[in-house]
């Protein structure tokens, strides 16, 4: 019996089940299409930006592409960095409050509000930043540069409008807050009950329980959430475009009226009146943004992989 070849018992031969084949086809197509789309975007960016690397570069008074993109790339990274410094701790705090401190009703209300915040269009955040937050922060900037002007971050005269890189970063921070909060909350909720109880049974207070059980478990999730938030901050266009007036400078000063702009907002503001070489230059800056995003993602993955004891803790 056992020596009978498979052909002798045709009932056992694998039969193509239509539902399986169709489903496999659809998911394979979806998986491949994301690669194709990314590839097409990359090809578009590279091909269209080639003229910008030529010798006769002349855009906004700069004589080569690096001179043009440098301040923009700096502004993009700097604004996102400031936004992340503000957003990540607050987001973790909110997520911990929702998952471990708030009564259930309050927690679901706050969770709902946070999710709503994610649905607000970035134009609205831009309007709020330019018209409300800038005016509100203006006295603070004046005070900072008067009293803490010796710190390089607050040197020089304060902005007369309040529309500074710091204002833009605060707007960015509010915009990335929901995504980081929502993802961190999901991770914290998955902390194994066993580990939480282990620390509580040892006589840990709630905060100590969070330090011993929740945060080590959630570390990798927090990093992933922050990367997604950072991705949004790097690419954010409208809010920055409405708050900052673009200028090509590299400056760490938070309170000045002369600010570095970001790649995305510069494209949005300059594209309508661009022609000839400048179009290629703008697309080339888009390519640089694309590369920055890939580098940031790669860095985060490397950080996660480097420390398996906290990163992969299960």
């Amino acid at each position: 019996m056992s020596s009978a070849p498979a052909a002798a018992s045709p009932k056992l031969r694998a039969k193509g089940r239509p539902a399986d084949i169709i489903f496999q086809g659809i998911s394979t197509f979806a998986g491949i299409s994301i690669l194709v789309m990314l590839g097409l975007v990359a090809i578009f960016l590279v091909v269209q930006s080639i003229p910008a690397f030529g010798p006769d570069f002349d855009v906004k008074g700069t004589s080569n592409f690096l001179e043009y993109v440098g301040p923009l790339a700096f502004g993009t990274v700097w604004a996102s960095f400031l936004a992340m410094i503000m957003a990540v701790p607050v987001a973790i705090g909110i997520a911990l409050f929702i998952t471990h401190f708030a009564p259930r009703k309050l927690a679901s209300t706050i969770g709902f509000v946070i999710d709503l915040l994610a649905a607000v269009p970035s134009v609205v955040f831009g309007l709020w930043g330019a018209n409300v937050l800038a005016g509100f922060m203006k006295p603070a900037y004046a005070w900072l540069s008067d009293n803490l002007g010796f710190i390089p971050l607050f040197a020089g005269t304060a902005s007369g409008t309040g529309r500074t890189i710091l204002t833009a970063s605060i707007v960015l921070a509010v915009m990335v807050l929901p995504i980081i909060t929502a993802l961190s909350r999901e991770v914290f909720l998955q902390t194994p009950r066993l580990h939480e109880e282990a620390s509580l049974a040892l006589g840990a207070t709630r905060w100590e329980m969070i330090k011993m059980a929740v945060l080590p478990f959630g570390a990798s999730g927090i990093v992933s959430a922050s990367i997604l938030g950072l991705g949004r901050a790097l690419g954010e266009t409208m809010a920055i475009a409405m708050v900052l007036s673009p200028s090509l400078v590299v400056s760490f000063i938070l309170t000045s009226g002369t600010n570095p702009s970001t790649i995305a907002s510069n494209i949005a503001l300059s594209f309508p009146e661009a022609h000839g070489n400048e179009v290629s230059a703008l697309i080339a800056t888009g390519l640089v943004l694309f590369i920055i995003t890939i580098l940031v993602n790669g860095l985060a993955r490397w950080l996660l992989g480097r420390n398996p004891r906290t990163g992969g803790a299960k």
Partner: protein
């Protein structure tokens, strides 16, 4: 190092649901008390009220008293954090902290509440606790490795070492061997026999042989039906409970004719 537990007319509720009703029992210091009974009869719920771990579940509360050498654990202003420092607990499944080394796991409870410990004292305490849990010889060369790399039985003994490192008065064990193989179970049972020299031990178990092997007294819990509260049916010396119990249902349960 060891205290008497008295539960007085203890009712445990989950919200409005009465889970355990009217438990009154005295647990002697330096003894092992086994809680047995069918699933859902409230023995795990009851053991958790002895260090207020039931409060982890929202809405869980008790009526009645639990006295630890005369001090009511549920008195006004009693901090559950301090209760749990006196009443340690070992869980059903081994749960060492996965991101911590073996040494840090043992010291985890000691370093809580902003307590500091000198390095030499810490080394001594790690060795004493691990010896106390019969684990020292197996792990002394790899104290820096993660606790999650140990076998299940070793992890459970690591959890016991972690619990006794804070020098509790009482040690609660909620089915500590249910996830372990027979050899590891035997190691834990031997350990329980040694630990009762110093601690009051309360153990929940589904294993009749285990209850008869390790315990001095046995309490049988039962439940009349789904949705009814669990009750303490009989509580006596283990030898009497397993040979000649007063209640018919106890006899049925320990002889395997029920549940």
């Amino acid at each position: 190092m060891s205290k008497r537990i008295e539960a007085k007319d203890l009712n445990v509720y989950y919200g409005d649901f009465l889970a355990v009703e009217g438990v009154t029992m005295n647990i002697e210091p330096r003894s092992v008390t086994a809680l047995i009974g069918p699933s859902g009869c409230g023995k795990s719920t009851f053991i958790r009220t002895l260090n207020r771990m039931h409060e982890v579940i929202p809405g869980a509360h008790v009526k009645g008293q639990v006295l630890l050498d005369g001090d009511n654990l549920y008195g006004d202003g009693v901090d559950p954090v301090l209760v749990r420092r006196q009443v340690g607990m070992v869980f059903q499944r081994p749960n060492p902290f996965p991101t911590m080394s073996i040494r840090d796991n043992v010291l985890a409870g000691v370093k809580l509440n902003n307590r500091r410990i000198a390095k030499s004292d810490a080394e001594a305490l790690v060795e004493k606790s691990l010896r106390g849990a019969n684990l020292w010889n197996e792990v002394k060369d790899r104290l820096e490795l993660p606790g999650s790399g140990l076998s299940g039985g070793q992890q459970q003994r690591l959890c016991i070492a972690r619990a006794i490192a804070v020098s509790p008065e009482v040690l609660l064990m909620d089915e500590p061997c249910s996830a372990l193989d027979p050899i590891s179970t035997l190691a834990i049972e031997d350990l329980i026999g040694e630990l009762k020299q110093e601690y009051t031990i309360v153990i929940v178990t589904h294993n009749m042989q285990q209850a008869s092997r390790v315990s001095d007294s046995t309490a049988f819990f039962n439940i009349a039906g789904t949705g009814k509260p669990g009750k303490l049916i009989e509580y006596d010396e283990t030898t009497k409970m397993f040979s000649n119990p007063n209640e018919k249902s106890t006899e049925d349960y320990v002889s395997g004719r029920f549940g």
